[in-house]
């Protein structure tokens, strides 16, 4: 049998004597400069690759729904967009935990993220729409982030036209980002004529439902 010795620190070395005078030492901070970041006047730089909002490369996303399957918060819903052959992920920031599993799992690296993390709205229906978006391409997002460097959500306002289903993102640099939502889910909506490429995905969607 091999003998094992444990090292135990002695009680007498750890235990300090209570003192009346020593607490007064903490007064030494009274005239030192406070370690405070005065937030409205000073800014902090988030770490590189700080897990913030998502970006989506619309050209490389293949609509495989890998991201939707791994998302622990089920924050990703596939969305059919007019003019696009495949569905795109729509992320709900009311649920998202910013774990970035979806970015990790994406086979084509279409989904990415940037360091911006600030999104505050008032308790108004039209402002709350900001929390639900199909991420914009990374180049655009980065550009906005570099211009303002205040780490805010790049969309100022969203407009959703109920009849035409047209969504408009009013970006912070004044440009508009428009697209039309045809339907949600993995099945292509009836309005969009199913194309051969999408038919392959249909059985997969049904499998999941069972």
């Amino acid at each position: 049998m091999e003998e094992i010795t444990f090292k135990i620190a002695q009680e007498s070395k750890i235990r300090k004597k209570p003192s009346f005078l020593k607490p007064w030492m903490s007064l030494k901070y009274l005239f030192k400069k406070p370690v405070t970041i005065k937030i409205p006047y000073e800014t902090i730089e988030p770490a590189k690759n700080y897990r913030g909002f998502h970006t989506l490369n619309w050209k490389t996303c293949i609509g495989c729904n890998m991201c939707g399957q791994i998302c622990p918060a089920r924050a990703i819903e596939m969305t059919w967009i007019e003019g696009q052959k495949r569905p795109r992920p729509k992320i709900d920031y009311g649920r998202c935990t910013f774990c970035q599993f979806c970015v990790e799992v994406c086979p084509t690296n279409a989904l990415g993220f940037v360091e911006s993390y600030m999104l505050t709205t008032e308790w108004k229906e039209e402002e709350l729409q900001l929390f639900d978006w199909v991420p914009i391409p990374p180049e655009k997002f980065r550009e906005i982030q570099e211009t303002y460097r205040d780490w805010k959500f790049p969309v100022e306002r969203m407009k959703f036209n109920k009849e035409t289903k047209e969504v408009t993102y009013y970006l912070r640099d004044g440009t508009e980002f428009k697209f039309k939502i045809l339907g949600y889910g993995l099945k292509p909506p009836a309005a969009a004529k199913p194309k051969p490429a999408e038919k392959k995905e249909e059985p997969k969607a049904e499998e999941k439902k069972e």
Binding site: P23, W24, S26, L27, Y29, L30, F31, K32, P34, V35, T36, K38
Partner: protein, 309 residues
Amino acid sequence: MIETVLKALFILLYATFVGFMFMGIIRIVTARIHRRVGPPIYQPILDTIKLLSKKSNITHGLIYDFGILYAVGATILAVMFIPLGSIGVLRAYGDLVLITFLLEIPMLGIMFAAMSSGNPYAGIGAQRALLTMLAIQVPLGFAIVALAEYYGTFSTYQIVMAQQVSGWSIAHLPLLLAAIAYDLVLQAMFGKEPFDIMIAPGEISLGPMVEFGGKHMGLLNIQHAIALFAETLFFSNIFLGGGVVTAFSSSVLNTIASLGVLLVKQIAVLLVATFMAAIFPRFTIDQAAKFYWKWPTIIAALGAILASL
């Protein structure tokens, strides 16, 4: 007659304003010890304005409202009795026992209001506050006795005048002992750590104050400001020589100068209390009672004995 009313009004306004500044100073100094920046100095005024302009007010009956008014009234009355430099409305009658008693009354008013709210936290807070009050009486009594023995009078104004002749009270050993005991007692009277047992934020969620909101809390803030002013003023009057400046020929200049001198002394008292509050953790109620009946009592009793020799 009119002059007296004006004087009283001036004292009241001055006490409230300076009291709020004191509250601001406490917050800034505490923040600096924690290496924070802290709020601006006028923050307590903004807080009070906000509280007073709340729309909904909860009341639990007559005593609940009356207790607060009682506390505010008693504090104002205490301020009137303490000589403020050369200004004083009732300073001729401001005897030590009376002022000491008046400074404790607000606590009773708050207790009334708290107990009538029927909240168990308020009940616990009230019990603890009353026990703290009971504990501080012993050293407080001895300190007062030491003062009265030494100067041979109970009148605060005469004690201030006597210090003009014989130097500050804390320069004499028996009174220095009394002053140390009184300073420890002040900590409990301010409701500051280590003896903020009756308020105990985080332990019994604000104790007696747990049910107050809106105008009640606003009035309590005002009461706290005036009480801070009154207690520091009383301490500077009886131990730090008060503020009677007769260096200038004009009486207005003299008054302003004495107010300034008093302010410096009050802030000194306040700073010591703030330092202690920032660096010592809270006592439990049994420790506090034991503490007050032990060290401050021994010190103050020693002072009283020495003073009577």
